[in-house]
Every structure is written in structure tokens, then in C-alpha cells.
């Protein structure tokens, strides 16, 4: 049972991160290579401000900081480059990834840190006769609430409607009088903000190091490839499945656990080259 819950914990982190990636891909047709780096920045920002303002405000701060970075990224990178071949912004975000990993090393050093679990959640609960840290249950609920919240925002709000319309046909949406650049900026900011939030909530559980982003970003890519690029439902299912598989793998076949995501990806691609959610890769 603890294995299932641990799988859910990692799966939910991946849900938050990959929904950010899916949002950005939907509006800008860019896979944000620096998404893992934003997650790392979020964790470090949270680590820095948490002693002063407490854990929960630190989470809000990191989300806000990353949302501003995301908005700036859209304004000064994705928007001027939107008429370039789609590889150009991809490679630029790769350059950002290189820069950020080094910058984090310069500012915070290459040592590993860890953020203290917030006091109010620092206890264990008994679930089905096993002790389980309560904090991890919070991660699960934050992940599920985030996924539901983003889904609701996209389905129910007016801006969400614009975002869905713009990701289907940018030009036609713009002709209806929607400011697609504004909507894109908002969505990219939201996606990056989510990465920052994921960084902070993951920080008490994992250790902070400049390379933490590149570790998680490959898993996110596996999620997107399995789930089908640009598909929310696909990414959600794939993220949870990947979390489960890694958790079970680590428990029962620890030697090859880190390989399972790649084997799974190869299997899915041979079986269905466009991922679970069908033909959205283009």
C-alpha cells in the first residue's frame, strides 16, 4: 500500500510539471526544455524564503516568481520567435536550461540542501496498518487539486475558452478579437508557475541540487511522449502510471527500476507511435 501511495506522490509531481509543459505546448508549440530548471529555481527560491515567511507563503512566492519568469519568457522569447521554425524556441529553451543550471550553482553552490517539512504536516498517519508521512498525502492532494483546477479553468472560464481556442487555431481566434498574445503569456506564466510550485512542494521530500531539474525533465518528456504531446488527459494518465511503475519497480526490481520508464516509452512508441492520446504529435 505504501508503494501505491509513494507512486502516487511522484506521479502527482509529474502531473503538475507535465500539465505545465502541455499548457505551454498547446499555446506556443514549444516544448520547454527549461521546465525542469524552473522547477529547480522554484525549489531554491522556496528554500531561501521559507525561513522568513514560512513554508506555505514560500510556495506562493516561488509560484509568483516563476510565473513572472514565465511571462517574461513568453514576452521576450516565444512571442518574437513564433514565426520561426518550431525547433528554434526548443533550442533556445535548451540554452536556458544550460544557463540556469550554472546560475543556480553560482548563487547557491553545488552542495545539496533540503528544506524542512512544514511543522503542521510533519507527522505520520496510519494507513492500512502502515505508517505514512502525512506530508506526502498533501503532495498527492495538491497534485490532484492542481490538475482538476487547471482543467476547470480551461473548461469553465472565459480565458480558458480563449486558451483552448487559441491552441486549436491561433489565427482564427485572433480574428475573433481575442488577444492571443495576452492569453499565451498568461498560460505560459501559469505553466511556469506550476513548475515553481512543484519545486517547492517536492523540496522537503527530495534534496536540492543544481541538477535536480535535468533529472526530472527527462521523466516529464517520457510522460509527454507516452501520453501524446499536447494532450492533457494523456499526460495525466501517463504521469500517474509512470509514478506507480517507478515506485513498484524500486520496490520489487531495484536494479532496473530507473530503466523502466524508457522501456515503457519504447514499448508504447512501437505499439502506438503517437502516444496514448492519439494523433496530436505534429
Amino acid at each position: 500500500m505504501a508503494t501505491v501511495l509513494n507512486g502516487l506522490v511522484y506521479g502527482c509531481l509529474l502531473v503538475i510539471l507535465s500539465s505545465g509543459l502541455v499548457l505551454i505546448f498547446g499555446l506556443r508549440q514549444v516544448i520547454n526544455f527549461a521546465h525542469g530548471s524552473f522547477y529547480a529555481i522554484g525549489a531554491y527560491v522556496g528554500f531561501t524564503v521559507a525561513p522568513y515567511v514560512g513554508f506555505w507563503l514560500a510556495m506562493v512566492t516561488a509560484t509568483g516568481v516563476l510565473a513572472i519568469i514565465g511571462w517574461a519568457l513568453d514576452r521576450w522569447c516565444f512571442r518574437p520567435l513564433q514565426d520561426r521554425p518550431p525547433l528554434t524556441p526548443l533550442i533556445i529553451t535548451f540554452g536556458l536550461y544550460l544557463m540556469i543550471e550554472d546560475i543556480i550553482g553560482i548563487i547557491w553552490g553545488r552542495d545539496t540542501y533540503s528544506l524542512a517539512t512544514p511543522a503542521m504536516a510533519d507527522f505520520s498517519v496510519w494507513i492500512f496498518g502502515e505508517r505514512f508521512p502525512f506530508y506526502r498525502l498533501i503532495i498527492i492532494s495538491v497534485g490532484l487539486v492542481t490538475a482538476a483546477g487547471v482543467q476547470a479553468w480551461l473548461r469553465l472560464s472565459r480565458i480558458g475558452l480563449y486558451a483552448r481556442a487559441a491552441s486549436t487555431n491561433r489565427l482564427a481566434t485572433g480574428m475573433q478579437g481575442v488577444n492571443t498574445d495576452f492569453v499565451s503569456g498568461l498560460v505560459v506564466a501559469l505553466g511556469c508557475g506550476l513548475a515553481g510550485m512543484a519545486g517547492v512542494i517536492a523540496a522537503p521530500m527530495l534534496s536540492l541540487s543544481p541538477t535536480m531539474g535535468s533529472i526530472v525533465v527527462t521523466d516529464c518528456f517520457v510522460v509527454l511522449v507516452i501520453g501524446g504531446l499536447g494532450s492533457f488527459g494523456g499526460a495525466f494518465v501517463a504521469a500517474l502510471a509512470l509514478g506507480m511503475i517507478q515506485s513498484f519497480g524500486a520496490t520489487y526490481v531495484p536494479q532496473i527500476a530507473s530503466l523502466i520508464p524508457y522501456l515503457l516509452m519504447a514499448g508504447v512508441l512501437i505499439w502506438r507511435p503517437t502516444g496514448f492520446a492519439g494523433s496530436r504529435i505534429h
Binding site: 514549444v30 521554425p85 525547433l87 544550460l98
Partner: protein, 347 residues
Amino acid sequence: MKVTRSNNEVAIKANGIPENRPKTKAGALLGHAILYAVVGGVGIWAAASHVLGEAFVATLAQALIFGIFAMGVGFLYKHNAHVSFGHATWFGLAAYFVGIGVNFAGIAIEIMIPFALLIVAALATAVGTIIVRLSGVAFGMLTLSICAGVHEILAKLQGPTGGADGMVIQLPPTIFGVSSGVLQTPTAAFVVAWTTVLVLAFLLPIFAETRLGRLTLAIRENEERVRFLGYTTYVQRIFIYSGSAVISALAGIYFGIYTSFISPEALDFNTSGQAMIMALIGGTSSAWGPVLGALLFFLVRDRFGILSSHWMLPLGVVLIFAMAAWPTGIYGAIERLRSAVVRRISK
């Protein structure tokens, strides 16, 4: 969409294949061959006569080996419009194959080198059948994931290949009749790598003029239209992917012999990224572009000691500016400068 198309047209010009280009003539080819032989001879003389200094030649040798590696990446981009984030897989695996064959199977290294290239070609063809169908963005992510997966396998694989610590390749006393001690000197490594660069830089433009080469360039520009003309397009793309893997594998084998050591670090994601950056900063329109990129990378890194630990930040900045302002790379800039000068003179 419209804007993207006009960008493609710019790309055609940047690639140096406007429609009215005269066909390569035998005479021009011969001239090229002589030019390359002279340039190659001068380079080898300079290295062998210690004009350049041992340390500089060592840097050049390393840069040229990575230049060959980046040539593979550039070749793939030029003909398939695919940016590989995982070519270090082929670079490293080739060296591993040579090492395994020589250390444990006792196969002569002279047989093992072509055999390793053959295995890489076969593996890359198998992988290519799945991934060349994808568009640029998905292709990039997938090559990255494959690279991470292979790295993970080799790092976890305890036993004779040494896991994350890597393994020493036990070189025989002579390779192709040359003492391996001599082959491992920077001068010899430079001579081998320099000759290979020249041969590749001579052959790749010829390939681009062949029927297959021109067809792949056409596929790159508009696959649907080429298919409509009655060609298959899938096999050619696999061929290009496999060919680019073999070029990078050749560099990997040189690297393995030069250092007589191979570890999973050689095929991790950062190594792939470096090769990709060298190719893109140098420019992929010509086979020389990636070599220029590699030379720039290594010369700058060796000049500024601080960069050996903080190479990522400046490289990221250069990459971003190059992609945003200078998408044809250094070689493209040289070409533009040259054509501007030619136009000024002919006026």
C-alpha cells in the same frame, strides 16, 4: 504558416542550394581534392614539426574529434531537419563496442573498428525506423530520452564494463601496423582526426549532389510534395539518420583509442548537447560548420580556465543569441560576408 514557408525559402538559400547552381564538374572536384590535400598537408606538417606546441595540438586533436562527432549531428540536421539531442549514444556506444570486443572477445581491433561501425549502423537503422517519422520537436525529445535510457543501462550495468566508473580499453601493441603508443600522442590523434575531417568535408558535399542527397534535401523542404512526385520518403530519412550515427560513431572510436578509456559520461545528455551546440553555432549548411563550432568551443574553453567548470552559462548565452540572431551559424555568416564582398567587387 505563410511566414514559416518564406523562412524555408531563406533556409534553402542558407543551405547553399539555390536552383540555378551548376552541377559539380569533375575538374572542380579535382581542384577541391588538390586544395584539401594541400591544406591537409600543411596542417599535418604544422602539427608534426611542433610549430604549434604540444598543448595546442592536443586541444586541436580533441576539438577535431568532437568536430567529427558534431559533423554527424550537422549532417542529420542538414538532410533531415532533425536536431538530435542524443547523438552521444552512438559516439559512446561505438567506443564501448570496440572496448568490449577487444577486451573480452579477443577480437583484433582492426576488425573490431569496422564491426563496431556496422553494429552502430544496424542499431541506428532499427531506432531510425521508429523515430524518423516524428517531427522536429518530438524527435528531439525522443532522442534525449533514448540517450538517457542507454546512459542509465551502461551506468547501472555492473561487471566487465565497469558501470558508472567506465572501463579501460586494452589496446594491442600495434593498430593497423602503427604502434598504439604513437597513436595516442596528440600529434598522431590530430593527424588522424584532421585527415578524417578533410575526407568527410570532401565527401559530404559530393553526397549532397548525388541523387539520394538531393532527394533528402527535397524531402527536408517539403516531404509531402516529394511523396506526391512518386518517391518514397521514409527509407531515405532512415538512411540519413543511420549515416549520421556512423559519422558520430567514428569520432567515438577515435576518442576511445586516443584516451584508451570509455565511461558512461561520454554518452550522457550533456555530451549530446555539446555536439548539438557545436553543430548549430558553427552552422550546418556546410560540413565545415560543425568543425568550426567545435574548434571555437575548445579553443575558448582552454583559453579561459574558469570556463572548464562554468562552461554551461556562457555556452547557453551564446546558443540563445546564435539561434535568435544568427540562425545560420558562423559558417552562414562567413558565406554571407563572402557573397557580399563578391557582389561589391563585381559591381
